[in-house]
């Protein structure tokens, strides 16, 4: 596994923070489906998350497989380290 720069960790934590907001909002929305502000906030964070992941994947390789991320050549899914290795 190649050496990771310190910004790998800060950029990953930024994604983890944004995705945490998304998980928290989606669980809330399951029992509060009529909360318009929460839906708006959810969509705002989905957009934020997509942007951050696109940049992250360019630097460190794909985060997902099964068609949720574009692949580069040579196939780069193995580029990003596995979560328990960092």
């Amino acid at each position: 596994m190649k050496q990771l720069p310190p910004e790998y960790y800060t950029e990953l934590e930024e994604i983890q923070a944004v995705d945490f907001v998304i998980v928290e909002l989606v669980l809330y929305l399951h029992t509060h489906p009529d909360d318009l502000e929460a839906v708006k906030q959810y969509n705002e964070y989905v957009k934020l998350s997509k942007g951050l992941k696109k940049e992250f994947e360019k630097k460190y390789g794909a985060l997902t497989s099964f068609g949720y991320s574009y692949a580069r050549y040579p196939f780069d899914y193995k580029e990003a380290p596995w979560p328990w290795q960092v």
Binding site: L12, F20, L27, H30, T31, A62, T64, A80, P83, W84
Partner: protein
């Protein structure tokens, strides 16, 4: 279907190699109130629960798999540099004899995971009350683990997981109220 993302839900750090803490933590990996039991319980109950609650069970069940991966990462990091002697001194000789340092679904006492830990009753209130109890028991387990641990980095991750149990319990309680309200409405006719 499910999609895997190559990241933890929350960062996991450990201060030192500490197989004894790993031995305790495995309770939340393959124990009765652990993350595997939680994920399998909710994702199995959801097929016969009223539509209003399927999304909640699906998403909480999915989040439990993210927590299972966090616990696995903690155990892996706490044991990866341990010698056989250190494993033995930590009370993990039995584990080591069977699994080396591979993870396995058993509890802190070494008892393998069993489906008898979970239930699916087909009665929405009975199932959701079990789910609330499961979250409260998991919350208590995380508290006991934090009390046992002297690793501040590890405790940060454990505190996060403890708080998630509180949220899940809250959402399940709201789901019960939603179903009770629906049941009340039907009686009007």
């Amino acid at each position: 279907m499910w999609v895997y993302e190559k990241k933890l839900q929350y960062p996991v750090r450990v201060s030192t190699c500490n197989p004894r803490l790993a031995k305790y933590l495995i309770e939340q990996y393959g124990g009765a109130d652990g993350e595997l039991a939680a994920a399998l319980r909710y994702l199995n109950q959801r097929y016969t629960i009223p539509d209003k609650v399927v999304g909640l069970l699906t998403d909480i069940g999915t989040e439990e798999f993210a927590h299972l991966e966090m616990i696995a990462t903690m155990v892996y990091k706490l044991t990866k540099d341990a010698t056989p002697d250190q494993m033995k001194a930590a009370g993990l000789a039995g584990h080591f004899a069977d699994h080396d340092k591979a993870l396995f679904y058993h509890n802190a006492a070494g008892v393998p995971w069993t489906a008898t830990y979970i239930q699916a009753k087909g009665d929405p209130i009975a199932d959701l009350y079990e789910d609330i109890a499961a979250e409260e028991k998991a919350r208590a387990t995380y508290q006991w683990l934090i009390d046992l641990s002297d690793d501040p980095d590890l405790n940060d991750g454990l505190r996060y997981l403890r708080e998630r149990e509180v949220i899940h319990s809250q959402r399940f309680r709201e789901a019960v109220e939603i179903l009770k309200e629906d049941r009340g409405k039907k009686k009007v006719f």
